[in-house]
């Protein structure tokens, strides 16, 4: 399984690079798989560049957080209206007691979770006030350095997922409308209720496991975002692009890429002109020279 290391620097998310260049370097040869993966990269190469994400079990959370901080134009309503550090006290103590942190702490687990949530809100607020891309990138470089701060933010995301799962499960029990992925989340034998979901799945995220697909839906829903994932090994199927969850309208999706549903990287938009010198939409030939065009509208 190919995992891109982020190199000797401390950066957890690399600078943007060209997808075609990356694809040709990483997937040489002409096995069926190589051809499929390269076809997938080529399908999106004119629209996106790639930022490689540190390849540990936090990568899905990290990639999503990176996109949130680098793209949010305003604080979401659910964050704006709440004092989210208080949510830690509202959480049942069983969950707090069992929480795992990836770093040493001298505070109580409750206090540390409060700190994580506070930090998330502060960083998000800081991100939305930057108007220029350069300032945002600078901020993200500072956050994604592999220090405790980065992991505190990732643990905050896990907390939000738990809180949302508890709320959704309660709604399901009451017979209220819930998003479809909830049924899948709690249909697993190992995750029939929030407690077992936490004990068997969520508390291990970042340590011994990453996020399963249905948990990506929970992550997106918790943040009120839609995560768009280009899944390269699913190229030539209807699951090549999958949305987590699929029912959040009118949102600009957070774009990620995975070759295998295991490791996630970030996709950032490539700047390109859509029109030629005469103001006509550009027609592009696919590089194979086959009769297959894409028309910009």
């Amino acid at each position: 399984m190919k995992r891109a290391a982020v190199g000797e620097t401390q950066s957890s998310v690399s600078a943007a690079e060209d997808l075609q260049t990356y694809s040709r370097r990483e997937w040489k040869g002409n096995t069926t798989k190589s051809l499929l993966i390269r076809k997938g990269y080529e399908a999106i190469a004119s629209e996106f560049n790639l930022c490689r994400v540190r390849g540990d079990n936090y990568c899905a959370l990290r990639a999503t957080l990176f996109q949130v901080l680098s793209q949010s134009k305003q604080l979401p309503a659910w964050l704006h209206d709440s004092d989210i550090s208080k949510w830690a006290k509202e959480m049942h103590s069983d969950f707090i007691t069992e929480w795992q942190f990836p770093f040493e702490t001298s505070m109580s687990k409750l206090q540390h979770l409060e700190q994580c949530l506070e930090l998330l809100k502060n960083k998000w607020q800081e991100a939305v006030q930057y108007k220029s891309l350069e300032d945002r990138e600078h901020m993200c470089q500072h956050v994604f350095r592999g220090h405790d701060e980065e992991y505190e933010l990732l643990e905050a995301l896990k907390f939000l997922m738990l809180r949302t799962a508890i709320q959704l499960h309660s709604d399901m029990e009451k017979g209220s409308d819930v998003p479809e992925f909830c049924w899948l989340l709690f249909a697993r034998d190992s995750s029939k209720c929030p407690k077992t979901f936490f004990t068997n799945h969520l508390r291990h995220v970042g340590f011994s496991g990453g996020l399963e697909q249905v948990e990506m839906c929970l992550l997106g829903y918790s943040l009120q975002e839609m995560i768009q994932v280009v899944r390269l090994y699913k190229c030539d199927t209807e699951e090549f692009i999958t949305y987590y969850p699929n029912d959040h309208k009118n949102a600009s999706p957070l774009c990620l890429l995975t070759e295998d549903d295991g490791h996630y990287n970030v996709l950032v938009p490539k700047k390109s002109s859509k029109f030629d010198a005469y103001g006509r939409p550009k027609w592009n030939q696919s590089s194979g020279g086959q009769p297959s065009i894409t028309t910009c509208l």
Binding site: S46, C235, D236
Partner: protein, 125 residues
């Protein structure tokens, strides 16, 4: 969400209403299309059926009219303003989307979802 008669039960469609935007003198939609009955369907990465010569969304401009309206990368366009798009050439599709006297286009699209994939497999049991 509604069902189109003749489509397999799993194909759920979304209605997307795109309000075109002026960019200079051009009315743009903010997305790109691939496919058509005159095109090579094996190049299309979004479809499993390699005889599928339908029209697919191959790019969506960030923050553009299409994205704002809910159109997404990989969507298959079934209809535009009531016109069928499942058996058209690439150029016919382009024309239906870029009529100069229309500043709104209403699309019917299909999109696969994780939830739907699992629901399908559950329905088979």
């Amino acid at each position: 969400m509604s069902f189109i008669p003749g489509q397999p039960v799993s194909a759920v469609v979304q209605r997307i209403e795109i309000h075109k935007l002026y960019e200079g003198d051009n009315l743009i939609l903010g997305f790109s299309i691939g496919g058509g009955i005159d095109q090579d369907p094996t190049q299309n990465p979004f479809s499993e059926d390699k005889t599928d010569k339908g029209i697919y969304v191959t790019r969506v401009s960030k923050g553009g009219p299409a994205e704002v309206a809910g159109l997404r990368l990989g969507d298959k366009i079934m209809q535009v303003n009531g016109w069928d798009m499942t058996m058209v050439t690439h150029d016919q599709a382009r024309k239906k989307l870029t009529k100069k006297n229309e500043d709104v286009v209403r699309l019917l699209v299909t999109r696969k979802s994780l939830e739907e994939t699992v629901r399908q497999s559950m329905m088979q049991h």
